[in-house]
Symmetry: C2
Subunit: 400 residues, 2 copies
Amino acid sequence: MPSDPTPDRQRIYLDHAATRFPKPQIVLDTMHSFSQHSEAAMGRGAYRSSQHAGAIVAQLRREIAQWIAAENAQEISLHSNCTTALNAGIFGILGDSDHVVTTAAEHNSVLRPLHHLETLGRIQLTVVPVDRTGRVAVGPLLAAITPATRMVAVMHAANVNGVVQPIDEIGRALADRYPADAKPLLLSDTAQTFGHLPISVDQSHIDLLAAPGHKGGSGPLGTGFLYVRRRLHSQLRPSLFGGTGTHSESLQMPAEYPSSFEAGNMNVPALAGWLAGLQETRQQASPLQHLTASADESQHLAADLYKRLDAISGVRVIGRPKDLQLPIASIAIDGLPASDAAMILDSEFGIEVRSGLHCAALIHQAIDSPPDGTLRISCGSTTRRDELDQLAAALTELCR
Amino acid sequence: MPSDPTPDRQRIYLDHAATRFPKPQIVLDTMHSFSQHSEAAMGRGAYRSSQHAGAIVAQLRREIAQWIAAENAQEISLHSNCTTALNAGIFGILGDSDHVVTTAAEHNSVLRPLHHLETLGRIQLTVVPVDRTGRVAVGPLLAAITPATRMVAVMHAANVNGVVQPIDEIGRALADRYPADAKPLLLSDTAQTFGHLPISVDQSHIDLLAAPGHKGGSGPLGTGFLYVRRRLHSQLRPSLFGGTGTHSESLQMPAEYPSSFEAGNMNVPALAGWLAGLQETRQQASPLQHLTASADESQHLAADLYKRLDAISGVRVIGRPKDLQLPIASIAIDGLPASDAAMILDSEFGIEVRSGLHCAALIHQAIDSPPDGTLRISCGSTTRRDELDQLAAALTELCR
């Protein structure tokens, strides 16, 4: 096993948009304990440890449903990350000759599956431009809709600079303009906001929504979910095929969502850890109460981050959102490539940030990133103000 | 969190074909420790923790390659379980109007994706029958091959009764009969044998091979791999699309396997645990030395299991393999449905076994299972002989 190159040094982790660190202790301990004492595979045996695993998974579905105000826990399928969840949703609902409208701010986990369907000639795709802050305007987005439009795919917030999209306004506009049975479906990738900002699939008329467990969801890596509105379940087609523990005599996947989308052995220890993380994070509060407070903290942290960055001459903030809601920023440093800057911040200052294009193919032209991408700083609820001060001091030194 | 219904009781776990339990302590500890101290996302940042994650993943590929005698570590892509790996391989290589030959013994993780392609009219599928022990005969399998046959899919061993298929003989026969560039591809699902029995993709001329990490591989849940022979890499098409940390400016997945098959955030803590498990299991021995010894132990355990089952009047052994190589058995008890038997064994004797069809749709008719399936007993390297004695005593009581 390769040994950790930096076992004992100070670490200022500012890469929360990739994954939360540290995870709540209870997440790791629950996962460890479940693996050590039970480890039973879910729903495929008649013994009680196996049924216990099934009960954990059922409760996790209920918990997630509450966090996004879904009507029913059976609208949640569980996946190994957000990418697999988004692929399942996109391939699961789009049919031949559908038209899809999306934005240039999307992550490659949305752009690449859509582009793939387009190159196969199976869908038509319109990518609506975004402004210099990476935000899509509601008017042009709605104007791109045609009678053939089956889906509008808009992320909740961009992973490159934390800009929050007007998802609520878009959802309401769609619901206002179209009868329920003719409305284009709204799909939202909430990878950067689930667990950080409130979202309601009900109020925002979102039909499909995906998120990882390991970012704002406070869970371990290896977790993610897809929400699909119940009235669509009969139209879904699975894209992953295998054992489901049900209808085993059939060569077809079960017809019922979510089990139709959950082939193969579930990672129950990780799901148990995720459930513990969600419960611990909100304490006794309701998810909405917790998320309202979390949005407030997030906004303050974002303001404090951008205030420090704005003050450093030589640092160019890329795509600065007008409305700062998430503590994620992309910057460029005059005369220093982003990858070099990330390396120096790590080796000289113990500060971990990310450089490059951040798996987003199209947003960079709009926000005017350097060709090699940006230096991305992303904070989490455990980030302290003195860590931001140390970041500012390090960047100031780099700009000298 | 639902509480464990049976926290302190004695547990005789005989469901190793679903997942290994207990996992080696070092697997859980490595995973816990990696999550606690690093948790950096792999290959997507310029900082050292992230590069350390990349080094672990690279070493895991090399380790797995050695266990199956693959030529190159870059022939291994990593997945969240065996089902996702098999789907990636099957959808990744089969093209329109291909003919596929498979066996009635396969798990639904092979049968269902193939059946799906058949119902779409994209492939033609021939399912070769198996004998009363679940074994496929080489002659009829080869006879089913037509000039249009692109793939022969044969599992290494059946999860229902542990029968080992003549994969080596099949691979050699294909290599003997066809020129290298016209040979049907051999795909093998080694879910029940990886880590238990030796297998060589080289000697057995296997072109695609998949396995989970969490069974014989001694790893945690949430892990699996796919092997694809290098000469096929240029023909592969991804079926999962998203961020790869490379070529982010492109709307297409990277062309190079394995990264073309690995979209989304990798579960590095689990992969680190798996690597530790593989290394710990083989100690200082080579994988082949370890697997040769393991096959021997496995054979003895299988003999001891079947000897006990054969001796109980009232127990009908289903599909008893002629050659006992894996300690997996399916049984039926006169007058007692399998699900009831599993429930009683659990609640009265603390013995955990599985009932039903075990996610295998077609083998049961051949081996003459009861309509509601079988009671499956599956042992692992940690199973003790006195546990088999207790199983035998409990079954004897059930048959009274």
